[in-house]
């Protein structure tokens, strides 16, 4: 019982932090601000996936979180290269 409520509270906190990070995506003064905020949203969604796995007892969603982390890292590196050099694959 304690574990279920703790995981639900963690889900609420992680979802609220994801929503608050959207402020920096929309209002961020520069492009790197938006990239950093999107990276934070990606990490928060990974946390939500892991908490959802613990809440439902399905270990598959941990793998979902790992794949989301990989996609977030790839997109961060891609945008960081794109905003400076203008192309990604030379």
């Amino acid at each position: 019982m304690v574990l279920e409520w703790a995981v639900r509270a963690g889900l609420v906190v992680a979802a609220a932090m994801t929503l608050l990070s959207a402020y920096r995506v929309i209002r961020g003064p520069t492009v790197p601000d938006r990239v950093v905020a999107l990276d934070t949203i990606g990490t928060n969604v990974v946390a939500v996936a892991v908490l959802f796995a613990v809440e439902t007892g399905r270990g598959l969603f941990v793998t979902v979180g790992l794949v989301l982390a990989i996609i977030g890292f790839l997109s961060t590196v891609t945008v960081a290269k794109y905003v400076v050099e203008g192309d990604i694959i030379e």
């Binding site: 304690v2 932090m17 950093v36």
Partner: protein, 115 residues
């Protein structure tokens, strides 16, 4: 199903992880510059997500999703500094100014610090 020690460990790790996620997001919203915001998110948010992965590793059996959680921790600690470093280098090359008296370390001797 879960013992009391396991329950206490999972609850404590979820609490620590949520706290560090909140710290990282507050830093992202409140700090004044893109480099300072990156400092908040790349450390605190990564620590929070790694703590939640560790909660998953405690909760699930180690031959199933628990091992995946440990792999996730290793992956986060490898990729988060790399991504933050690449964004900060891109921001410097785009010409985002530093706060105050701070300078890029390699600006004196040429090729690495070229904007």
């Amino acid at each position: 199903m879960t013992g009391p020690v396991q329950t206490a460990a999972v609850v404590a790790l979820v609490a620590v992880g949520s706290f560090f996620l909140a710290v990282g997001t507050v830093g992202l919203l409140r700090l004044p510059n893109v480099f300072n915001r990156m400092h908040a998110t790349s450390k605190a948010t990564t620590l929070g997500a790694a703590s939640l992965f560790l909660a998953g590793a405690v909760y699930f059996p180690v031959e199933g999703a628990g091992l995946t959680s440990l792999v996730g921790i290793v992956f986060l600690f490898l990729t988060a500094p790399t991504g933050a470093h690449m964004i900060s280098r891109s921001a410097h090359r785009m010409g985002v100014p530093f706060l105050g008296e701070a300078e890029w370390p390699a600006d004196e001797d040429g090729d690495e610090g070229e904007a």
